[in-house]
Symmetry: C2
Subunit: 212 residues, 2 copies
Amino acid sequence: MAEVESARGARSGEVAQAEHRRPQSAREAILEAAARNIARQGIQGLRVEQVAEDAGVSTALLYYHFESRAGLVAAAFEYASEQAPSTALRLEDDTRSGYEAVRQSLLAELDEDPAVRDYSIVWGDVSASAVFEAELRPLLRSITGSWRDAVAGAIERGIRDGSIRADLDVDATAELLIVLVDGFCMRWLSGSLELERARALLEKAIAALLEP
Amino acid sequence: MAEVESARGARSGEVAQAEHRRPQSAREAILEAAARNIARQGIQGLRVEQVAEDAGVSTALLYYHFESRAGLVAAAFEYASEQAPSTALRLEDDTRSGYEAVRQSLLAELDEDPAVRDYSIVWGDVSASAVFEAELRPLLRSITGSWRDAVAGAIERGIRDGSIRADLDVDATAELLIVLVDGFCMRWLSGSLELERARALLEKAIAALLEP
């Protein structure tokens, strides 16, 4: 036990030192650890002490960055959303057609890559928890809105470059597509649908909705 | 406290007596109470003693019917699924066109009626919990499969009666539709989308996918 404590102390010291050089790194280590912990056992099973230990920081430093358990959950959710593949839609210098940008980035959300899977579990668990915990809703609503707007932006680009049909309701289609992605992620993560089947169905729906 | 206990004892006695006359009623009272409790605070917050109290039965009778907490959750999930509006799709004497049967029954899942809302929360919470609890998956998979098959059956009927386009992949379309319903329910219940907006988008998607 003394050894574990001292090992943790040493790691904590390292990260704290690293933090002075690169201000974001202890924060990011905590967010990564929080996302991994939520992905393993859900928000309800999240233990702040475990997150601090996994991140190699003290709980005091964790609370310094995130104030409370609820603050940590919210920040981990925001972090997971920022790491999700769809965020590539926001890049300015995207050389793909609008259609390919939408298709590739939405399909990339259904991926066995452990990081993508973990972020997807965090996203789904925060959504599910917001049914019971009203304080999660404003952030969920805001991040869902940003995602929808990014998809809508790519759809508009696709209409301009001719890769997407021009007669669609952009906002409604963007909303529909992200609802589909979340629905298929839930089926996949809960074991109701094989990943490949979910991907194939999503790809078919994207083609049916967007192709000119 | 003594008064509460005796009031509960009286209710318990009534239901137990009713059970002798109508064998399903204590069981159903427990399932209703379990569904309401899950809808209020989720599976993780479910307390067996509270369910028994709300149902007006003893915990002994509850365990007689459901063996364990996990058995109660599974049975409550199955019960909520059976009460969901889409089950009307399985009726033999449906006089609606196939298209109207699909449209009306899927839209009916998005409804402010407290019972419909509660069953929907139970469904969503079991799906979300199955991400972490593998033992929930076989039942979830089986009930999701039955739902998809009921929708597929109504789509086939719609193709025969001419109300639904004939060139679609029936199973893929049924799967897509129920994923959409679940996705929109999650958006609605988690406060990310207004109910009316969710209904309008779902209705539009149904028309786009099914109309001849």
